[in-house]
């Protein structure tokens, strides 16, 4: 039997693969990720900065929190882009683009804003990203024949979420 050499280093990736087109799409994850980006911007803005007399452990605690907020912000901005890519590339069709002429522009703007929120501490860009993702969610549900409603997210970030309402 073949013996396989083993590497003790960083974890690799193993695929629990599925390429069956299940046809199930939902813009909710993109909205949650956009809300998280907004919340991380808020937390970074609220984070007290250590003064010149701060103890080393206080400066270290500040750096640690800032690192965590930044890492989460970037990860969720990327998550927004992933979710949008799936909707844009897999769900929406050329007929949808005719039905909703603003479709491509919305995705283009949202993708650019998601990149901006990754790169910068920019609460306004995070608000703008959430607004674009909400509009995409509205288009998505309308394309399925549903009415939509907005309601408060009930999260610390504030903001709203878009939900479908069956006719």
């Amino acid at each position: 039997m073949m013996r396989i050499p083993m590497n003790r280093g960083t974890p690799g990736v193993v695929h629990a693969h599925c390429d069956i087109p299940c046809g199930i799409y939902d813009p909710h994850h993109a909205q949650i990720a956009a809300l998280t980006v907004l919340r991380m911007n808020q937390l970074i803005a609220e984070l007290p900065r250590p003064g010149p007399q701060a103890k080393p452990e206080e400066a270290q605690a500040h750096q640690h929190k800032l690192s965590r907020y930044t890492e989460t912000k970037e990860a969720h901005a990327e998550q927004v882009k992933h979710e949008l890519r799936v909707l844009w590339g897999d769900y929406f069709t050329p007929d949808h683009a005719k039905q909703f002429p603003e479709l491509h522009g919305l995705f283009w703007d949202a993708m650019k804003l998601a990149s901006k929120t990754r790169q910068e501490i920019n609460p306004q860009a995070a608000q703008d990203l959430l607004a674009k993702v909400q509009k995409i969610a509205e288009v998505f549900w309308k394309s399925k024949g549903a009415e939509v409603r907005r309601q408060p997210s009930m999260q610390k970030s504030g903001g709203e979420l878009v939900y479908p309402v069956a006719k």
Binding site: P11, G12, V14, H15, H17
Partner: protein, 134 residues
């Protein structure tokens, strides 16, 4: 070269190994056994490593249909599997006779898995190792 630890990407091994979970991989000691979760190189994409469960062994007649996997005509008890209810009116059953060095592998998440039902049985030399919880 295999690594010892892997991160799972994709939904096909839910609920046992959800996306993002970690598995520990070791070289197989002996032949794969039914129920083993293995790391393999699928026939069409040999550069990729897939995580699936061995459900059919060499020489067996296996079948899949109506949400049920059978070995030599008998349903296999699979408490680990998330199987879809059989669609009404869908009576299609596919069967495979496994060769002397062929294994049938499936993801535990039967509705969302690309596995031997699609690419056929897997040769023994495609199975690289056995996975356990990290």
């Amino acid at each position: 070269m295999l690594r010892r630890r892997y991160r799972v990407e994709g939904p096909s091994m839910e609920p046992t190994h959800p996306p993002g979970s970690r598995v520990r991989v070791m070289s197989l000691q002996g032949e794969p056994r039914r129920g083993d979760i293995v790391v393999l190189r699928p026939p069409a994409t040999p550069r990729r490593l897939d995580l699936k469960r061995v459900v059919g062994l060499p020489g067996e007649m296996v079948s899949w249909g109506r949400g049920e996997f059978r070995v030599n005509g008998s349903p296999l008890a699979e408490p680990y599997a998330r199987s879809p209810p059989a669609p009404p009116g869908d009576d299609e059953v596919q069967a495979w006779r496994l060769g002397p060095d062929e294994y049938f592998v499936m993801g535990d998440n039967r509705l969302h898995s690309t596995d031997s039902r699609h690419h056929g049985p897997v040769k023994r030399d495609r199975i690289a190792g056995k996975a356990t919880d990290a």
